[in-house]
Subunit: 350 residues, 2 copies
DNA sequence: TTGTAAGCGTTATCAA
DNA sequence: TTGATAACGCTTACAA
């Protein structure tokens, strides 16, 4: 009744090349129904050990794996998760996103989800692809690493109750869940450390205020200054666009104000700042202390080794993915809004 | 006959929250069969313009997107492509793979495929996941960026005729198709340039000989030396493991041989080498010329700006993905074995 | 413990 | 130009 003679002949002869072996083939070969095969392979205990063993053996022999499409269709679940990443070429080339991906990937692997990559471009937004992915049931949930303040369209996902979470960022005034690092605290930590080492005129190179983490790091910087009774001076801040070059040119501008320290919004910009300081004939940390943020692998290799605030993006992304899966699987009734701790790493640049 | 009253009522009232609208809903709302809807939405010309317009409008109104699972099942095609990336943490943190991903992503986007990420770990191999993905019909094809010489299991994919291609690497003695850069030529270009500037004692820091591109770059180096009548000296080479630190410690070792130039297997290691040379009190390029390879964005920002061989991994990955899609769609009868050109970028470190 | 059969939401093949 | 209807390959009540 089940199975297809031609198929089975192929299996017998050639190595069943491109023809796909289905549950029917296993069923007919073992002499049971497809239901039994399905149950046995999903480890259902009501199938006799004997039958179970035969089925598993045959499945292995035939190289059978259930069709993911058929499975998704029957179970109404894709088993896929999308990771959204912004389309900022410069940003994308940095280890930050690689680490984020690693974290998400590991979480997916542990929970048997597969990871799909989406780059957020204008067309991604305007074509409402972030909604379509759900409508198509291509993904069960979505993560966004590196969102900007312009991404307000995402609030639709909240209303539609589609599983979504921010990793390492969030959207101001939104109800969407997130797991991120405590950027504000990080900025404060950096400034306090610089103050403690006797510095007073502390400059700041920020990345881009459209990125929430940049803004938070900046706010931490400013608040810590004011808390120490130092008046915030706008001319001591400059944008560095997250890049080494940007950090260097921001530093060039800031040097005119003769600061005795600088807090760079990330380690890459700190590298640029250090380069520019040296170029101008000054020394780090003797003339100017430099503190970065993120603690990328390169930080400890710089000269001088960079003092920085560790931002565990791998851990953040991983936890965000785990929370997302909890949401998908109905295990997360409450809103997830987490700020994971950051930590000062003292090295030689301060 | 078609459709479900409850569903349609929901659509009328609330914003059809989590309930998925299907082709039947569109069909019954417009008053046609599902077949007609399917044909109309796929742009089949034999449907009258009138009907077509109504269907498209209704689909849009209801926010209908075909279920990807149902579609895959019916068409026997997933529309997914997997990008495999090695599990070398250090490597993964470098812009190289981010660029490769970007290239693959863009090609997928252009051809309406979606990109799935797979990290090649021991379990990935031992569980034969690279085969299972095909058996499950989860993916239509697979790309591998950064393969090692240990990845011989992949030859099975050739025998099984599953669409596969290497991007930026290949497997020695394998029939599997690839698109990569001309690494050997790159090594030669670097050495020739150093020779032309009068250097004779040229050291080499290679990444890891298990990576084919490292080996090829090394071979290019050695051949160019011999071609110039210089005897290859093993003590002038050292492994750097692709990292900045590795490059620095390799350089430390090599300095004992008092070379007058060094060709680093990638720009990251070149950065480490430069750091070590400076630390030892020597100058680049006055005492020792340094040439890297890849031309990552950081290369132009180093001091001195790094002379290097441009390896267009974005372009390579993109082209590999395009070729893969050609293979998937039956447009590629011949074996694809391409070495894309490399180019010397002269800056200040030589 | 196992089998039957009804979905799941498409596409594709015929007829009409 | 359209409509029935049979796949596609699985899971899951419900029966036996």
């Amino acid at each position: 009744m089940y199975g297809n003679q031609n198929i089975r002949k192929d299996i017998g002869n050639t190595a069943l090349r491109n023809h796909h072996v289905t549950i029917k083939d296993i069923a007919s070969s073992v002499g049971v129904s497809t239901a039994t095969v399905s149950l046995a392979l999903s480890g259902n205990s009501r199938i006799s050990e004997e039958t179970c063993r035969k089925i598993i053996m045959t499945a292995k022999k035939f190289g059978y794996s259930p069709s993911s499409a058929a499975r998704s269709l029957a179970m109404n679940k894709s088993g896929n998760i999308a990771l959204m990443i912004p389309n900022l070429d410069q940003i994308f080339q940095q280890s930050f996103f690689a680490l984020a991906m690693n974290g998400v990937y590991d979480a997916c692997l542990a929970k048997s989800y597969s990871l799909r990559l989406e780059v957020v471009s204008d067309s991604f937004v305007s074509s409402r692809r972030f909604i379509k992915l759900f409508q198509e049931r291509s993904v069960d949930g979505m993560l966004y690493a590196g969102s900007t303040s312009a991404d307000t369209y995402l609030n639709q996902l909240y209303e539609l109750k589609y599983p979504f979470i921010f990793a390492g960022s969030y959207l101001n005034g939104s109800n969407l869940p997130f797991v991120t690092g405590d950027n504000k605290k990080g900025g404060a930590l950096a400034v306090e450390h610089l103050l403690n080492s006797g510095r007073r005129k502390i400059a700041h190179i920020y990345g881009d205020f459209n990125i929430t983490s940049s803004l938070d790091r900046f706010n931490g910087y400013r608040d810590a200054l004011e808390k120490a009774g130092i008046v915030f001076d706008d001319s001591l801040t400059a944008p560095g666009g997250f890049s080494e070059k940007g950090g260097a040119s921001a530093m060039k501008k800031l040097l005119k104000q003769k600061p005795d320290a600088v807090f760079a919004g990330n380690d890459i910009m700190a590298a640029g700042a250090i380069r520019e300081i040296k170029r101008s004939g000054l020394s780090v940390p003797d003339d100017i202390s430099v503190c970065g943020m993120d603690d990328i692998p390169l930080a400890s290799a710089m000269s001088p080794a960079l003092t920085t605030v560790k931002y565990d993006i791998y851990g953040i992304a991983r936890r965000a993915a785990e929370k997302l899966i909890d949401i998908i699987e109905g295990r997360q009734p409450e809103q997830v809004k987490e700020f994971l701790p950051v930590e000062l790493i003292k090295r030689d640049s301060c």
